[in-house]
């Protein structure tokens, strides 16, 4: 089972709550002999870190990662790589167990499932968990040096012209509201043949990897929903000698297996659920009460989502490189 773990041969397990003493992860199954140190992982974490601008949460976390195992003299040993980050700027007092359920948050669902929960900053459901995805993704990248992965925000609040985003975010922040975003991730250099048929299709694994990121509500491979509006003759990616393609409607996969074209994934992030504008809700006793978030939050969670999408894509691709090597040599 995989409640808090992800991947098959290269496997990430994460732990930690938003306002507990620390968060961490274990990366199991990493090939031996790869150069790895704290600084490599830190570089990716710094891209995702809160407190680095007005459009991301003002929570001040240094997010300093420490590798505690699995590396000897700067190289991976093949044993599990444990990493932790101390929570420095936790403010559990910002949160109370009796507060109304915040609509769009996991509060109500966690209580329904577990009968209790850690209310401090969303506990385990906080986007803080994604720091460890980024840490795991940094290791995964070492496994696939032939692949370049780049994710970027291509749309905020329905607007694709990035010149307008800053003003839109200022307005939303001032209004105590939030905006959604779309992130596009392209992985180049993936050779044809990674992936697997039927239930471990590269498409299916990428979809699970990205849909499982906090606030994500939609995933597309290649043309995605737009492909459903094309005719078969328009959607066909013609091939030429040398196994080149005229187009990439498919987004780099066919039958769940990579074709050698760039893997293209689009990911929809809903607007941050934590907003100052009050929303009708109930509390744990069932009484009606307005919810209004006072903690520190991103006006657009999708902005910090790009490095997380990159990490998840890296984890899937690295895992499938190993799986392919396992089955096919």
């Amino acid at each position: 089972m995989s409640i808090n773990g992800f991947g098959h041969l290269l496997r990430l397990t994460t732990w930690g709550e938003s306002h507990g003493p620390a968060i961490g992860c274990v990366v199991d199954g990493c090939p031996p002999g790869l150069g790895l140190d704290d600084a490599w992982v830190q570089g990716f974490l710094d891209l995702r870190r809160p407190g680095t601008g007005k459009n991301v949460s003002p929570r001040r976390e240094t997010d300093l990662v420490r590798i505690l195992s699995g590396v000897f003299e700067g190289r991976t040993t093949g044993t599990p790589i444990a990493m932790t980050i101390d929570n420095v700027d936790a403010r559990p007092a910002d949160y109370s167990a009796g507060a109304p359920y915040r609509p769009g948050h996991a509060d109500f669902a966690y209580d329904a499932k577990y009968g209790l929960r850690d209310p401090r900053g969303g506990g385990r459901a906080s986007a803080r968990e994604t720091a460890m995805r980024v840490a795991g993704g940094a290791v995964a990248r070492l496994v696939i040096p032939e692949v370049e992965i780049e994710a970027r925000v291509i749309e905020i609040g329905g607007e694709t012209d990035s010149a307008l985003w800053d003003a839109m975010l200022d307005e939303a922040r001032a209004a105590g509201d939030s905006l959604g975003a779309v992130v596009e991730c392209v992985a180049s250099g993936v050779p044809a043949g990674w992936g697997a048929p039927v239930y471990a299709k590269l498409d299916a694994e990428l979809a699970a990897a990205c849909m499982g990121i906090n606030a994500v509500k939609g995933v597309e491979i290649g043309d995605g929903f737009a492909a459903a509006r094309l005719r078969g003759s328009e959607n066909a990616d013609a091939m030429r000698a040398g196994a080149s393609f005229d187009s990439n409607h498919a987004g780099g996969t066919a039958g769940g297996i990579s074709t050698g074209q760039p893997i293209v994934v689009l990911v929809a992030f809903k607007p941050t659920s934590s907003i100052r504008i009050p929303v009708p809700s109930i509390d744990a006793s069932g009484a009606e009460a307005e919810a209004s978030t006072k903690g520190r939050h991103d006006p657009c969670v999708g902005i910090r989502g790009a490095p997380v999408v990159e990490a998840m894509v890296a984890l899937v691709l690295a895992d499938h490189k190993l799986l392919h090597r396992g089955q096919c040599g």
Copy 2:
């Protein structure tokens, strides 16, 4: 690993090629004591069966399922349920190993991965495999009698007015072309609390389940990509006393766990890749050659996708019912 298997506690493993002697599946982990016979499964298979109308493949398969194990005197015993369907109308002579790779098909990718493949009708990559998903889904439904699952085509070729679809399909078929479709699936009656945080989120598992269906290129939960264009205050599903909600932008999940609202999944099917219109391609030797499909195919594969989506959603929900009962009693 899960190359040809799906699910955690309730696990479907499928086998079989499009033009081999038979296809089949094993459902492992089914609770004991559930009433099950061939007729129950057959009912669902008949909804998906080819040869039943002008808009689906004219291949004449009776698709008669036989349950070979796991049932005693009409009740499940808790042991694996094996089911098979003989391939009656297989026409392997329609296909040849030397034919050009069909763009949009798994042909090229399979050769790249495995170095060889069964060329007869797509072999393992054929949508014929989805019959066993439907059979597995029929068993899964028995596990979740409290849930009603209904999927329907809501868009064909970009058109949402169903009165126009018939003419559109006639036109595409006559032109040797094909159309895409969007399927919406709603699961009602799911109690709050199914699902799991982080990497086994209900959203992630539904995304993997649906993105892994042949020809699917996009999956949305609730408002999906449209949510990325809403403001946080618009997207919030306000709650009222009695744990009712004013809206269901979230599509029935929060933090990866069901909220008690209907689960809503949208699935985009690309247009059938098998078209009569020639498309530039190459053959296994690398030589350029036009690909044009002469076998029997659906002009819109999404039409037969609806029962498959239902089945996959049923499998995910049944699995998570058992997982929830396992962890939380």
Copy 3:
């Protein structure tokens, strides 16, 4: 989860009851391009088949295997390999649901777990299931052509002199009783480096594989329990130049990883539980009643256990060859 499945990258899933219409299995994850046909598998099944001598069950099963998928033109394609055997000589009338629980059998435990069971010949708990382990093992052997696996009975009824076994078995059979056996399995040609630390140790996987065979109550690697009676200086396998060893107390593994020495596994089979001699028991209503088996059974189930042990060892080693290749290239 692995209720009826076994293995990680190379995965065997079996199904079927002793007196149902058929038994079968699916082997998932097999590398492509390996030569495989029915005859190869049949050869191993014939070594295990009942009805071939006075010391094995007189049930007349031809045990003819059919490969239904995953093979094209005599070579594996990398897709799941389904195999089935029809139950020809099933005699369900020999068994009745109201019969007393047979001590040593799964009857009582199945009823306690599932609330119902297929009473015909032990249903799923019958040793008939092991035919599919042998079939799966036949495929596994193709994955590890460098390895030679040979299992043999080294002890029956506590006696290691094989010249005495025939008379012992005659006597036990005439008395309506049964004898236990010990099987030794040696796998030569395994290179150093297969296996994995900690929870996927080769030792642990071999132990699970063999302890899960019907009637097995003990497993040893190398010297096993005898090692617990040696001093450290006696038990040490001294090494010489060329990575050769003076001895093999360890049975070919260290730290869960193969050393290049032969893998040695000892497996203890209890005496067949099905005996004619009456044993006090109870029936499903809880009433006391003597149990006495009238069906056709082996006087020493361990005799037919040797090919099953070979198969399980082959499955573990093939799986770990692929796992090693996956992680370490």
Copy 4:
């Protein structure tokens, strides 16, 4: 995959090397609402701790455990429970990468597998890892309050009379040698019906759990190898009204499922491989060189094995309680 993880629904993942900064684990899938704090886990760790007597390693580790996640106000929340122990008395200088491979240790096998390794105190292969098994087992016990688990050493150096053990250990220690041991573990209170058929048999899972403990070479359920020397009529556990049994040759399982009798597991520990007596070996360059261990080690590793066996048995039983609840309600 399960290289460094163990269990299905209740899943332990461990990390850390003997002489790295810390060791740790993550317990995933724990039911919510169980009372848990550091002191509970510490109690079990103290039973296994080194430095507590002349017959266990003189390494001075306080083994103070910290729970870092998954617990809120003294109760489990259902999210992953991370625990760590700092390595206080690590002495990496005791070890050198160029030292000869120690026979019976993982040194040679790790190098053969990974091409490099952490040489400090056995790195990941050190028995220090078992501290985290004990920590995980402490959590598992909370899941199965109805079960009492007790393991004890029943044999040292082939001697069952415990009055003689002290002198034997003194002699072995003085001689720079070591002794093996046998540990018996009995789990009482397990209801009939836990476990699962075929590949997740309780027997198979207990065998894997115990054979995977450092230095273990043999596992028996119930009478184990002795059962292979009994006749069927002797080995039969007769049943009486009220589902009581006259005997427990089976060790509490039938068909892989618990019968309600005590679960009995015997585990053979080889003598500690680390001995002062020199043994011929080779070094990483292949040159012959004598190996003689100078680090601090237990003269009989089996003595500290008992709490580890208890922990592994607790993990298996807790996991199967959840699995049974999942499938059968």
